[in-house]
Amino acid sequence: MELLRKLEILADAAKYDASCASSGTTKRNSLKGGLGSTEGSGICHAYAPDGRCISLLKLLLTNACVFDCAYCINRASSNTPRARFTVEEVVQLTLGFYRRNTIEGLFLSSGIIRSPDYTMEQVVRVARVLRLEHGFRGYIHLKTIPDAAPELLAEAGLYADRLSINMELPTVAGLESLAPEKDFRRIRHAMAGLRTRIEGAQEEAKTARRAAPKRFAPAGQSTQMIVGADGADDGAILGTATDLYAGYRMRRVYYSAYSPIPDASRLLPPAAPPLVREHRLYQADWLLRFYGFSREEILAGGQGGMLDLELDPKTAWALQSRQDFPVDLNTAPREMLLRVPGLGAKTVDRLIAARRHTRLRAADLARLRVSLAKVLPFVVLADHVPRGLEGAGLRSRLLPATAFAAAARPVQMALF
C-alpha cells in the first residue's frame, strides 16, 4: 500500500482522540544539535473545518485491533480498511512535517495487535528512533497500553512528553457493555502507576541530586471520556473526572462527543454528536479546576444530573443561587468574583488591580470587554445596582440572543 493511502487510513483512525495539546513540557531547543523546540505553550499549526486545532501529527501505528469496543471505528469486528505503518514511515512523516513547520510533534497511538507488550514496544520504538537517532526535540505524546510491561512504560516516559490512557467511558457498567476487553480497575491501576513515576521524576528534578535527573513524561498524563455513547449522565462524567484529576493528577480530562463512524456497531447506531453537551462539560471542567466550584454546585445548575444545555454552567448555577448575589465588585473577595457569570479569571485579576485605584463603574467593565448583559444582573458597582435579580424573567434575559448562540442552542439538530 502506498504511503499516502496508509496516511489517510491511519489519520482517519486517529481523529476520534480529542487531545492535541503540545503545552506544559520542559523547554528545549536545537541550538546544540537535533531538530525542534518546545517553549512551554503549545502551538496550533492549523485548524480543520471541525474547529479543532491541529498541533500534533496524530496517527495510529496500526488500526488493526483485537479489542472489540463498540464505539470505535477500529474495533475487531469493523469493516474498516486496515493499514500499518512501519516505524521508519512514522519517523519520516514526523520529521518531514516538522521541518516544514506544520506540526509541534507526534501523538502516536495504536490498535492492540498480538499482545499489549508487543504493541507498546512498537509505539515506544518510534519515539526512541525519533529521540535517539534523529535528536528530535519536538513534542511526543504516546498512548499507553494499560497492560504493557513496566519496563516499556518506563522507556515510554523517558522519550514522551505526555502519556495518556483513555478512560473511554465514565462508568464500570458502560465499559463492561461497550468495551468488553477493557477493565476499569486495570485502567486506573495503570494511571496510578503513571502518577507514581511522573511524581517521582518531578521530585528527583526538584532535589536534583543527579546532574541529569531521570525523565518521565514531564507534561504529565491525560485521559479521554466519550460522551453520549453510554447512558452515563453529566453527574457521573464529572464525578469520574474529579476522581481522575484528584487521584491521578491528570493534566487534562478530554470529553469527546460520540460521533457517527463510517462503520457503526449494532450496539451504537449513528447519531448526531452531542456537541453542546460536550461544550458544557468542558465549561464545567474549567469551573471545577480554576473557579473553586464543586461538582455538586455545578450540577445544582442543571436538572436530574444533566447540565443546562441552554446556559453556561456558571450562569445556570448563579440562577439557582440568587441568594449569593448581587456581588459588589468593589469589595467582594476574589473567590466570589470568580463566581460571577461572565467574569473570567483574567478579568477578575484586572478588576482587583484596578479597584485599588478607582471605584469600578459599569463603563470600566465595558472597557474590559466584559459582556454587560451577562454580568450586570449579578453585580453592584459604584453607579449600578441590579434590578430583577429575584424576577422570573431573568433566565430568559440571559439566554444567548445572537444567531450563532441560537444555532448552538441545544435542540440537538437531528442529523437530517
Binding site: G51, I54, V66, R99, I112, R114, Y245
Partner: protein
C-alpha cells in the same frame, strides 16, 4: 511654510519601525527636556514625514529615571504594532508615569493602559500566528536542502520572532520572506534583508500532498464548525497554507458523508474479525489476576485467598469502586507485632501498600526510634479501600463510618487469625473499634491491653496521623515521644509474653 508646521514641538525620527532602543533613548531625552506628549511627533525614517517642523530632539539626559518594569516590558512589544500612533501612545504613558501617576500601569481600566494592552495582545497574537502558520518549502540546492517560507505578518515582528525559528530549526538553513523584511539563517547567523514577493518562494513541495491528505483525513465531517476554524485561522492566512486549499471541498462534502454514515446505519459485523494471533497477557498481568482459591489452612494461602476475595467481591461499599485498588496488609506471617491502622490514604491507594504516605513515614521514624524493625512487623488497615472526597486537585481522606468498619471487620478478623501475632497494636479509634467491636476512647485506653473479638490481645495507641494534626511543634514533639514510648511498651509486652 504650511500653517500646521507653526505648532510648537519637536519631531523625532526613529531609524526603524520597531526600534525600541532608539525610541527609549529619544523618549528619555524628551522627558528630561520637559516636552509634553502633545508637542512631540514621531516619524520612522523612510515613512511619511510628520507635520511638525523638523527640530532636533534633545539629547538624552545624563541622569536616567526609573519607570515600572511592567511598562518597559509591554512597551517593547507594543512598539512592533503597525499602528502609526504607537510611539505617541507610549510617550503619553511615559509622561504620565513620570508626572505624578507612578501607579498608572495598575489602573487596568484607564483607556491608555487598555490601549497599550490591546496593542501588546495584537502583537503577541501575530507572533503566535507566525510561529504557527509559517510553512517552509524544501528545495534542493547544490549544497543541500534549503527551507523557504512566505509569510505576511500584520505587525513589525520579523526581527523579534526570528529567534524562535533559530531555536527550532538551528540545524536547517532557512529563510522567511515577508512583504517588509526577509530573514535568513545559514546555520550560523541571522541575516535581515529587504522584503520580497510571494514569487520568491517555490510554489510547491514534495511533502505537500501528504500534508494535505493528513489535514483532510483528521477532519471529522460530523463536527462541522467552520466558524470556530475561522476564528483561529482567519482567511487572510489561507493563502500561505497549502492545506487551506482542501477546506472548500471538505466543507462541501461533509453533509453528504454524514448522511451516508447514517444511511448505512449499523453495519453487519465483519465476518472475519481481527483475531489475536498470539494474544497473550504478559506474566505480570497473569500474576495479578484473581485466581479462585479455597479457604485453606495454610496462613499464607489464607491471606492470598483474602486478597482475591477483596479484589472481586460484588458487595463492596460504594466508595470502594472509586479507589484504585484494595490495599492489603504487608509483612511476615507469624510476626510478633501486627499494626492495624484506619484505612489507606491517597499514597497508599496509588502504591497499593499500607503506610507509605505521610502518616506511614512518621510511623517508620517512630518504629526506628523504638527499635522495632518494620520488615519484622505486619502492617495493615481496618478498612481496605481509600475513602475520600475529591476537592480540586486533591483527594481528602474521609473517615470510615461504623458501617464501613463493620463491613470490613470479618476480613480483618481473618487477617489477624492468619498472621497470628503475639500482640496486635491498634493505631487510632477506627482500628480499636474494628478489633474490639466496642467504641473505646483511644486517649483513655492507650497503653492498655484489651481483647479483640477473636480473643487476641490488643495494645491501644494513637494513629500517627493524629500526631501530624497536633497544633504546634512542641505538642508534636511531645506526642511523638509518647508514641515511641507506646511502641516500646508494646514490644516489651511481646517479649514478656
Amino acid at each position: 511654510m504650511p500653517a500646521l508646521a507653526l505648532r510648537q514641538g519637536v519631531a523625532v525620527t526613529l531609524p526603524g519601525p520597531a526600534d525600541f532602543t532608539a525610541w527609549r533613548q529619544a523618549a528619555r531625552g524628551l522627558v528630561a527636556a520637559e516636552i509634553p506628549p502633545e508637542q512631540a511627533e514621531w516619524v520612522v525614517a523612510g515613512e511619511l514625514p510628520g507635520l511638525l517642523a523638523e527640530a532636533p530632539a534633545p539629547p538624552p539626559s545624563a541622569a536616567p529615571f526609573s519607570v515600572p518594569r511592567a511598562f518597559l516590558d509591554q512597551a517593547e512589544i507594543a512598539i512592533r504594532h503597525s499602528d502609526r500612533e504607537r510611539f505617541a501612545l507610549l510617550y503619553g504613558l511615559l509622561w504620565r508615569l513620570t508626572h505624578g501617576e507612578r501607579h498608572l500601569m495598575q489602573a487596568a481600566t484607564d483607556p491608555a493602559v487598555i490601549r497599550l494592552s490591546a496593542l501588546v495582545k495584537a502583537v503577541r497574537r501575530d507572533a503566535h500566528k507566525m510561529h504557527a502558520f509559517v510553512r517552509f518549502r524544501e528545495v534542493q540546492a547544490e549544497d543541500g536542502p534549503r527551507h523557504i517560507a512566505w509569510f505576511e505578518p500584520d505587525h513589525h515582528i520579523e526581527e523579534a520572532e526570528a529567534d524562535f525559528f533559530v531555536r527550532r530549526f538551528a540545524s536547517l538553513r532557512w529563510s522567511i520572506v515577508t512583504p517588509r523584511r526577509s530573514v535568513a539563517w545559514d546555520g550560523q547567523a541571522l541575516d535581515f534583508g529587504p522584503g520580497g514577493r510571494r514569487a520568491d518562494v517555490p510554489p510547491d513541495d514534495a511533502m505537500e500532498p501528504l500534508w494535505r491528505a493528513y489535514y483532510a483525513s483528521i477532519f471529522n465531517p460530523a463536527r462541522l464548525k467552520p466558524g470556530a476554524m475561522r476564528a483561529e485561522m482567519p482567511r487572510k492566512y489561507w493563502r500561505s497554507l497549502p492545506e487551506a486549499a482542501e477546506i472548500p471541498r471538505l466543507m462541501a462534502e461533509a453533509p453528504r458523508r454524514v448522511a451516508e454514515m447514517v444511511e448505512r446505519a449499523a453495519a453487519a459485523p465483519n465476518p472475519r474479525p481481527q483475531k489475536p494471533r498470539h494474544l497473550s497477557m504478559p506474566p505480570h498481568v497473569l500474576r495479578d489476576m484473581p485466581t479462585p482459591i479455597d479457604a485453606p489452612a495454610d496462613p499464607a494461602m489464607a491471606l492470598a485467598a483474602l486478597r482475591e476475595e477483596l479484589l472481586s467481591r460484588p458487595d463492596l461499599p460504594a466508595f470502594a469502586a472509586r479507589a484504585t485498588q484494595p490495599v492489603f496488609g504487608e509483612g511476615p506471617v507469624g510476626a510478633a507485632l501486627m499494626f492495624v491502622g484506619e484505612q489507606p490514604g491517597d499514597e497508599e491507594d496509588i502504591a497499593g501498600r499500607p503506610f507509605v504516605g505521610p502518616a506511614g513515614r512518621l510511623l517508620d521514624r517512630a518504629l526506628a526510634q523504638a527499635g522495632v524493625e518494620r520488615r519484622d512487623a505486619y502492617l495493615t488497615n481496618a478498612v481496605k479501600h481509600f475513602k475520600f472526597t475529591p476537592t480540586g486537585k486533591r483527594r481528602i481522606h474521609q473517615s470510615p463510618d461504623a458501617g464501613d468498619i463493620t463491613y470490613y471487620r470479618p476480613f480483618l478478623a481473618r487477617e489477624v487469625a492468619a498472621v497470628a501475632p503475639r500482640l496486635v497494636v491498634s493505631l487510632g479509634a477506627s482500628a480499636l473499634t474494628a478489633l474490639t467491636g466496642k467504641k473505646l476512647p483511644v486517649l483513655k485506653t492507650r497503653g492498655q491491653v484489651v481483647t479483640a473479638l477473636g480473643g487476641q490481645p490488643v495494645f491501644a495507641t494513637v494513629h500517627p496521623s493524629y500526631l501530624l494534626r497536633l497544633p504546634d511543634a512542641e505538642a508534636q514533639a511531645a506526642g511523638f515521644a509518647d508514641f515511641v514510648a507506646d511502641l516500646r511498651a508494646a514490644q516489651a509486652h511481646t517479649q514478656g509474653l
